[in-house]
Amino acid sequence: MGLTMIEKILARKAGLETVSVGDTVVVDVDMTVLIDMQFSNQWMRPYRIHDPDKVAIVMDHAVPAPTIRDAAGGPHARKFAADFGIERFYDVGQHGICHQVIAENGLARPGEILACTDSHTCAAGAFNTAARGLGPAEIYSIMCTGSTWFQIAPTIRYEFAGVKPAVVSGKDIFLYIANCYGDAANANLEYGGSGLEGIPMHDRRTIATQGAEVSADFSTFGVDAVLQDYLDSHGVTNYVAAEPDPDANYHAVRRIELGTLEPYVARPGTVSRNGLPVSQLEGQKIDQAFIGSCANGQLEDLEIAAEVLRGHSVAAGVRLLVTPASQAVYREAMRRGYLQDIADAGAVVTNSTCGACFGYHMGVVGPGEVCITSSTRNFTGRMGSSEAEIFMASPATVAASAITGYVTDARTVLS
């Protein structure tokens, strides 16, 4: 029996010819990424680590530090990086949300394994990488020992077909899938098919990132010309991609007709079987709108936001917050004028951080408020008060909604 994409990577990294669903395998990890919070909460300096060239440190969740606890972590991180010769250290100013930094710096390589202390690490699956978010103790352990274990879970494959309408983004595709098929706990997601070539990298990254919201283990994409171009332009070479075998054994294969999709919105609480086409939610009033996070703070997300907002103003009584996913995204969006358009419309542009997405800083919501967000989670209480409601949609839909003050189809603003 052949192997799925993820089975192939895990078998290879375990030094095995083959693996089967249910097997537990010990694998070598190619890149381990620590985030700032690892250093602010009970940091333990190790005596030795496995390989400093296989470690990166990214300051992202709480920067610039909103609390003394967070501020206290910074010196630990800086000294640790210096003492152990960790060159891939992305300090405040060269920082960004870890998954964006991983993408920009070519830290995720096809066919390899990447681990990081954040649950959205599956984002790097867009690069054909077996990428997993793991808890702080496990990341610490991998940093020290260079390896960890995984249990082989069944794989669900999504076959994209056709061409998506221009306004439909990776977020809409994901919200549609989450609404149709629900949770995928203890399963891997694999994306491919003839329609993949029409889905650009930033949309693939959104889709891969949000595998966490349907509780999946790994989310991985195949390698095609679009990904190869991205890798070439980011200096990623000499990789061994993992494609599924023709006779791979899937738990399910689901075909997605891209041409039939339209913008989607998830209602508060969960994305799982809880979405609607945007047209069915128009009229829903909002108080805050947020564009940002590892899922949708990318340059292309700011580009479409600027396009929607140009010549318009954020509605009275509504706050639009925009958080670029990295300092590099921030600088490029500034250079291209996107931030000017966004700020001119009355939005607040923040520094790059995980910030509002996880309700920690930079724009939490209050009791009774309604937020529409392009970030990663709409769990109750995720972005602040548990008495607030969080709708989730694409950056285009969020920007259009900020203009009108109600959930709005961006096509009505753009036309």
């Binding site: 940091w43 010196p75 954040d118 997993r132 509780s215 939490v364 109750t380 995720r382």
Partner: protein, 174 residues
């Protein structure tokens, strides 16, 4: 940490997410204070009712969400083990890595009611509702996973393996 646990069970529903157990605002607190917010939405006041040795029983997709170390808060509250019909795999790993024993038991929320006494043993996969007499067994976890729990969790194991000091060192002054 023991691989067998027995105690009073608290039964919760499906898809309990990590933000509902370790909310963002609690991440600014020390663990003892943060632990007072576990299940603050779904069962306000629960942290005043739970006693050391109690067991949390949940439904499907238990622990969807973040990598934040929720298990540390359960340990802070004295919870002896977690049982769920289905775990989010990251949440399950975090429990194992913190040496908090966890058992997957399909239909757990039908088998157990609030206040029942349950006994669970990961070494052989057996479980028993001491209140109703129902019992059974689930597939045994791989030895590799049981060893992590039995050795006191990943950090304790790294100390034993010589990677870590037993106590944090203030490296900023070194």
């Amino acid at each position: 940490m023991s691989l067998a646990f027995s105690g009073r069970v608290w039964v919760f529903g499906n898809s309990l997410d990590t933000d509902g157990m370790y909310p963002g605002f609690a991440m600014k607190m020390d663990p003892p204070e943060a632990a007072r917010h576990v299940f603050y939405q779904v069962r306000p006041g629960w942290t005043d009712q739970v006693s050391p040795g109690d067991i949390v029983v949940a439904g499907k997709n238990f622990g969807i969400g973040s990598s934040r170390p929720v298990s540390a808060l359960f340990i802070e509250l004295g919870v002896a083990g977690l049982v769920a019909e289905e775990f989010n795999s990251l949440f399950f790993r975090n429990a194992v890595n913190a040496a908090l024993p966890a058992m997957t038991l399909p239909a757990a929320t039908s088998i157990f009611s609030d206040g029942d006494t349950g006994t669970f043993d990961l070494t052989d996969g057996t479980w028993r509702n001491e209140t109703t007499g129902a019992s059974g067994n689930v597939p045994k976890l791989p030895d590799m996973i049981l060893d992590i729990i039995a050795s006191g969790g990943l950090m304790a194991r790294l100390v034993a393996q010589g990677y870590l000091p037993a106590e944090p060192i203030d490296d900023r002054r070194s």
